[in-house]
């Protein structure tokens, strides 16, 4: 049969040809639970961490920061234990990135105190002189929008009730606005007065960053 004179047949044939590799390397792995294993040690994001993650996406942070540590000696030395598939079970979308203009962040949780992040996010060069990271001071000037938090966690199947989501937000707000919050000074330094008793976008981003790579330590200890 001369397919070169039959456009529709040609199109169907092309579709079949391109679908072979697609089915084998993409669709079949999707049906295998081992591609994206789930571990009890890895917990979903709280509503505040998830809002922080969405702000991270909105800022395009993934254009400069990766979130996957490779199993290479110098990489493990620099960032910590290499990334495991279980860690990403709740990541929709994944944020592994493709270019490190800034360092990898998959193990950044707990590496610095919140106060460091407040200062660094607002004015990166004040903390790391030679950095080319853009300043994100405006994130501390925006009240965190939690109108969709219940809906978001429901879509993602995190299994929280509406009350739990509300409680997560209230708890985190209580934490960062408490007089005994360890990073209070740094937070007040970047947060306008009228927002100091509220949650800001920067609070949420920092909550997200502090979550990264924390659960995996329990996973490794558990194994």
């Amino acid at each position: 049969m001369d397919v070169y004179s039959k456009p529709v047949v040609f199109a169907v044939l092309s579709a079949i040809v391109i679908l072979v590799g697609t089915v084998v390397t993409v669709f079949i792995p999707m049906l295998m639970p081992s591609t994206q294993p789930v571990s009890d040690y890895i917990k979903p994001y709280t509503a505040v961490e998830l809002e922080g993650r969405d702000i991270y996406i909105r800022g395009g942070c993934n254009n400069c920061h990766t979130q996957t540590v490779r199993p290479l000696r110098t990489e493990v030395l620099r960032y910590g234990e290499y990334s495991k598939p279980e860690e990403f079970a709740y990541d929709r979308p994944f944020l592994w990135g493709s270019r490190r203009t800034g360092p990898d962040l998959n193990r950044v949780g707990g590496k610095y105190p919140d106060s460091w992040h407040y200062k660094h996010m607002a004015d990166p060069q004040s903390v790391s002189g030679k950095s080319n990271m853009p300043p994100y001071a405006w994130m501390a000037q925006n009240r965190l929008d939690t109108r969709y938090s219940v809906r978001k966690t429901r879509i993602l199947g995190y299994g929280y009730t509406e009350e739990e989501v509300v409680a997560q937000i209230a708890d985190y707000r209580a934490k960062v606005t408490s007089p005994s919050y360890k990073s209070k000074r740094a937070r007040n330094g970047v947060t306008p007065k009228e927002l100091r008793d509220e949650l800001t976008e920067m609070d949420a981003v920092i909550a997200y960053l502090q979550k990264l790579g924390r659960d995996v330590k329990k996973l490794e200890a558990g194994n």
Partner: protein
């Protein structure tokens, strides 16, 4: 005008659109190139690097690239089918819808509405608009092909069909998402699967936008502008089927040494290496088409665009699979090396081929000669030199950063902290910006030349 009822308005419309988005995308590119060594330029959230980089890639890849492809496709389709477009009205809708989508895309990305998935950043309402636009294009492609007067479909048409089918599959599968509201959605895939789907898409959207339709142009415009028949029909058949078969297996070379299952990575490497063969099948076919007529490199200003362009394609398709090997990826990945790699393809191969296609088509449409061949030659040399300095600078910078990340002291500790590695790149970023200016001047001359050709033509309807 040849007066055979062919719709050239649509070709012209997409040509202008391509030039507009090309210049816009390059201005954004120059701005982010400056931001890389001058972070104070991140003046507002809208102008911060993380958002602008996406405007740059989408503006050039989808704005310039696709518009150029649509312009050339509508032209080749009518010529090779020897029949006018079946639905010229629909094509007009396509043109307006396309520009509307790209404008909204730019605005929404500026505003931070993005899905984070590279080259699929547009949020769901725009995704739906893109699919509608693609169907409109496909209807014209297939209707015109079915009604064609020429029995055999020439190679270029195979590539256009493959693009039309594959982009649809890629775009729909990778953009399946659950809306939160009008401006926000989450993908249906999680973690490793999302990564796998994304880079299957990411690799192939580049393949089926920056390779397949550009090859369609190469296979058509090189013979018609030189008057030389294609060297080998058989080689083009083998190249075509093996290229489109192998391409879809290789996305995982973007995910080497990540938590993606190792077998998918290994399959990705194997097929990437295999891809050198069909890629070079087209390169060789192009070179041999000129056999015995290489003086045209000097006498025919268009030929050097095609031949240098396909040479960059050849280099690109060797560099790509090589840097995907595990040993090399562990050194080069996440550095500027990859940025250099991409830009050799886009600034070299893609832009040179589209430029030459426009230089060929526009005078044919207007029925006059090109406004200035001399200007076209200056354009060629500026974009060649600009691109070479640009990409070589990024390769050197990438090697340096890769080496600094891996350097250890005799006691086994890291020699450099991360900040040292990025700060050492600022001189390269300055050279890159300068090279970008050279390239940009070349593109301005290109746009001016096309604009003046249309303006000075008597047949301007």
């Amino acid at each position: 005008m040849e007066g055979n009822g062919y719709d050239y308005q649509i070709v012209r419309g997409f040509t202008f659109s391509a030039l507009f988005w090309l210049i816009t995308g390059l201005v954004v590119g120059l701005w982010i190139a400056l931001e890389m060594f001058n972070p104070a330029l991140n003046l507002t959230p809208w102008l911060s690097f993380g958002r602008l980089r996406v405007v740059h890639t989408n503006g050039l890849g989808l704005g310039f690239g696709l518009a150029g492809i649509f312009a050339a496709s509508y032209y080749m389709l009518q010529k090779l089918a020897r029949t006018p477009l079946v639905f010229p009205g629909l094509a007009k809708v396509h043109l307006y819808l396309f520009n509307f989508i790209i404008a909204l895309a730019a605005l929404s990305l500026f505003a931070g509405m993005n899905t984070s998935k590279e080259y699929a950043e547009l949020e769901w309402p725009l995704d739906i608009a893109v699919v509608i636009m693609w169907v409109i294009f496909a209807v014209n492609v297939f209707a015109t092909l079915i009604r064609r007067q020429e029995k055999q479909m020439y190679v270029s048409l195979w590539y256009i069909i493959a693009m039309t089918v594959t982009i649809a599959v890629l775009y729909i599968v990778n953009n399946l998402e659950v809306p939160v509201n009008l401006f926000k959605s989450y993908p249906v895939y999680a973690g490793v699967n999302d990564a796998n789907v994304q880079w299957w898409y990411g690799h192939n959207i580049v393949g089926f936008i920056f390779t397949v339709p550009i090859l369609a142009m190469f296979y058509y415009f090189l013979p018609v502008s030189t008057g030389l028949p294609l060297f080998s029909h058989r080689l083009s058949i083998i190249s075509f089927w093996s290229l489109i078969f192998a391409y879809l297996w290789t996305g995982a070379h973007h995910l080497m040494l990540t938590p993606l299952p190792e077998w998918i990575q290994t399959v990705g490497i194997a097929f990437s290496i295999f891809l050198i063969a069909p890629s070079w099948g087209s390169v060789v076919n192009g070179y041999y088409t000129l056999r015995g007529n290489w003086e045209q490199m000097r006498s025919n200003y268009l030929v050097k665009f095609f031949i240098v362009g396909i040479t960059f394609y050849g280099l690109q398709t060797i560099q790509g699979p090589t840097q995907g090997l595990r040993t090399l990826t562990s050194f080069f990945h996440y550095t500027d090396w990859v940025i250099g790699h991409v830009h050799m393809g886009t600034m070299g191969w893609v832009t040179m081929t589209i430029s030459a296609a426009f230089y060929y088509m526009i005078p044919k449409i207007t029925g006059t000669g090109l406004y200035s061949i001399r200007l076209a030659n200056v354009h060629f040399w500026l974009i060649l030199v600009g691109q070479l300095i640009w990409t070589i600078t990024m390769w050197v910078g990438g090697i340096q950063q890769g080496a600094m990340w891996k350097a250890t002291d005799p006691d086994g500790s890291l020699t450099y902290n991360f900040l040292d590695s990025i700060a050492s790149l600022y001189p390269y970023y300055k050279i890159r910006f300068a090279a970008g200016i050279v390239y940009f001047v070349g593109i301005i001359l290109f746009a001016w030349n096309i604009f003046m050709t249309i303006r000075t033509s008597k047949n301007n309807p």
